[in-house]
Symmetry: C2
Subunit: 134 residues, 2 copies
């Protein structure tokens, strides 16, 4: 992590700890992604950090919406124009000032540096920033 | 957000959307922090993004453990040496490869660009990266 101060805020850099692998390379609904199985592949040097995560448990996944570009402060929930606009901080839209996703996924298996999970709404290739027991 | 690729992973930079204000400047237990009242002050330019967050509701706060330095992949839970070590990704320790905190806080009030919350385990001056309804 490195931190620098700018007029608009503090700039903070992270290095991904791993990435997501699944069958979805292009924009896909969160529902479809969550019902599929994904693999979270961690940097092999960090493998010991997974100790204690077990199949049947849950894990909170912090990731980068790496395909997201731009945002509006007020958005229709899920893009549904029949619903009034809300603030982006009251929504889970990937289009946000810092495109960070946070999802609790179910652990199906843990093998070496790879977690198999369901319930994760992230595309193939998504950089993973952190994992925490949930 | 900017993304660059390194051998160990992808480097991703974010700019904080705001910061935490409370009475705690030095290391303080999560329990004490959560029982206190904190203010989350957002960049005034992003104020409209709070629309829809209301007192009585909950908000998921993504923040940077800006005082955290270094980490071990295996740690005793809460530093309790009577408990066996677990992997950092199975813990909520602030000492982690990417020192990102994720906490659900209760909203006490929303005024202009400031949220008053309880239940947040972040020190005074903590950079806030994202907010989501919870």
């Amino acid at each position: 992590m490195s931190i620098t101060t700018e007029s608009s805020g503090v700039s903070i850099s992270f290095t991904s700890i791993g990435h997501v692998e699944n069958a979805f390379d292009t924009e896909t609904s969160a529902e479809t992604l969550r019902s599929a199985i994904s693999r979270i592949v961690i940097n092999p040097l960090l493998k010991d950090g997974l100790t204690g995560l077990e199949s049947g448990g849950k894990v909170l996944v912090v990731f980068s919406f790496h395909r997201s570009e731009g945002y509006e402060l007020l958005q229709h929930p899920r893009g549904d124009h029949t619903k009034p606009k809300r603030g982006v901080f009251a929504l889970h839209s990937p289009h946000r000032p810092n495109p960070i996703g946070v999802t609790v996924a179910e652990i199906l298996s843990v093998k070496e540096n790879t977690l198999e999970v369901s319930g994760l709404d992230a595309l193939n290739g998504t950089p993973v920033l952190d994992l925490k027991s949930a």
